[in-house]
């Protein structure tokens, strides 16, 4: 069936795009991982650009503090307590009826990511933790899918398009000489829990996420239209408060490096070897989260974490553990943290809720 392309007239004027590019977009399927600050901008712009099928995955519900930056949501969504992925689907249906949205209300993990990515032409990153990013990277490299990384917190952000080296080396981007190192070539290890500020503890300025996510969409449009040589070969790093824009070179990371993922094709994250585990603690309305054992990971710095968490409620910390009361979206939780990153989230029996609280307030 031929679709009316008139609404895309302005972008079809762009060189390298045209009607052919537009038809490619309409025939594309993209996995949008996470539908928060980055994810809403990504889903919004991809839908308006006419990407035919978006699979939007998110485990959270909308809350009032999201509205400052999560552009697809409004006050009614908060009142109705709608899951983010579903709210995005409804909003996009009003924005562009030519786009199909599959809303998936779930945690992304090693058991489901390959199925979610099935038939997709690219994976775009809107998640809030590195565990899921390394998982997406493994999936992208294993299946030869472009993966566009983006992250933002406070006033800083980073983004980078991965056109992975494949097993047979015959992907269109490799044939065009445009393959790039994978995320693990560049970041060997995820920051340990509690090491980095999160949007919940350090805040976030909406332009930081808008710039990074718009840039991710930009690279995705090049990918979906096959403009491989136009894809940015460097990693962008911005600080919109300190007024710095840097482009870091990455090419040597693949040429010189010994990446476990894209060179040795060892997909540890996808195999679940490095994933965190959740256990619902029977009869206690609590979930335990344990982190993968990594001898090189430093112990949690309770002093600094306690300082950040005090903004959300009372915190007590000893040498061995930290306990914080957290109010999140009207619910109350008690978070107990141990120095190796293990945590108990009291106030829920839902593993996904506990994981979300951990990612938001401790970070990973």
């Amino acid at each position: 069936m031929s679709q009316d392309l008139s609404r895309y007239h302005r972008q079809m004027l762009i060189p390298g795009f045209g009607e052919e590019g537009q038809r490619k977009l309409l025939g594309s399927k993209v996995l949008v991982l996470g539908c928060g600050a980055l994810g809403t901008v990504i889903a919004n712009l991809l839908a308006r650009a006419g990407v035919g099928h978006l699979v939007v995955v998110d485990r959270d519900f909308i809350e009032l503090t999201n509205l400052q930056r999560q552009v697809l949501f409004d006050e009614q969504d908060v009142t109705d307590a709608i899951p983010k992925a579903e709210a995005a689907r409804r909003k996009i249906a009003k924005i562009n009826s030519q786009v199909k949205v599959t809303a998936v209300i779930d945690d992304v993990n090693h058991t489901n990511i390959e199925k979610l990515a099935e038939g997709c032409d690219a994976i775009v990153d809107g998640v809030d933790n590195f565990e899921t990013r390394f998982l997406a990277n493994d999936c992208a490299v294993k299946h030869g899918l472009p993966y566009i990384y983006g992250g933002a917190v406070g006033t800083v952000g980073m983004t980078y398009a991965i056109l992975p080296h494949t097993e047979r080396g015959d992907s269109p981007w490799e044939q065009a000489g445009a393959a790039t190192p994978c995320l693990r070539c560049i970041f060997e290890q995820a920051p340990p829990p509690g090491m980095n500020p999160t949007c919940e503890t350090a805040g976030v300025l909406s332009p930081a996420v808008s710039i990074i996510s718009s840039y991710e969409v930009n690279e995705t449009l090049k990918v979906l239209t096959g403009n491989w040589s136009a894809v940015c070969p460097t990693m962008l790093s911005i600080d919109i408060w300190a007024n710095t824009v840097k482009q870091f070179k990455v090419k040597r990371a693949y040429d010189v490096g010994e990446c476990a993922c894209c060179k040795k094709r060892n997909f540890e994250h996808l195999a679940g070897l490095l994933s965190s585990a959740t256990t619902t603690l029977c009869g206690r309305n609590a979930v335990q989260l344990s982190q993968p054992k990594d001898a090189a990971a430093p112990k949690l710095d309770f002093e600094e974490l306690a300082q950040r968490l005090r903004a959300h409620g009372p915190v007590t910390a000893s040498k061995f553990m930290l306990r914080a009361d957290i109010k999140d979206n009207g619910a109350e939780y008690e978070l107990t943290l141990f120095t190796d990153g293990r945590a108990i989230v009291k106030g829920t029996k839902e593993p996904n809720t506990a994981k979300s609280i951990y990612a938001k307030y401790v970070g990973a």
């Binding site: 590195f130 980095n196 949007c199 976030v204 600080d239 870091f248 990371a253």
Partner: protein, 95 residues
């Protein structure tokens, strides 16, 4: 020697350097520069280096001389010259 290498400090580590976004130090190699930075700001040193003294940078932090990652140059022995910019870049997790 003049303090002629500019080190860009990421937001997450600014509390460890009196909230400065850049610090200028002297040195002929990345090891010199980061060593004297850690000497001046021990809390930053603790974040930057592994428990193994000042021999190895934590694997979740990248260091760039201008726009090149030191891991793919001469690592801590990478030479720096006056006017070079050294960026400390932790992976950004938020979103």
């Amino acid at each position: 020697m003049a303090d002629n290498i500019t080190v860009l400090i990421p937001t997450a580590l600014r509390p460890q350097v009196d909230n400065q976004d850049t610090v200028s130090v002297a040195g002929g190699s990345v090891r010199d520069v980061l060593g004297s930075l850690a000497g001046k700001y021990p809390d930053l040193g603790k974040r930057l280096f592994t428990a193994n003294g000042e021999q190895e940078i934590n694997r979740f932090i990248n260091v760039y001389v201008n726009d090149e990652d030191i891991r793919f140059l001469e690592n801590l022995d990478t030479a720096v010259k006056p006017g070079d910019e050294l960026s400390i870049v932790p992976a950004i997790a938020g979103g």
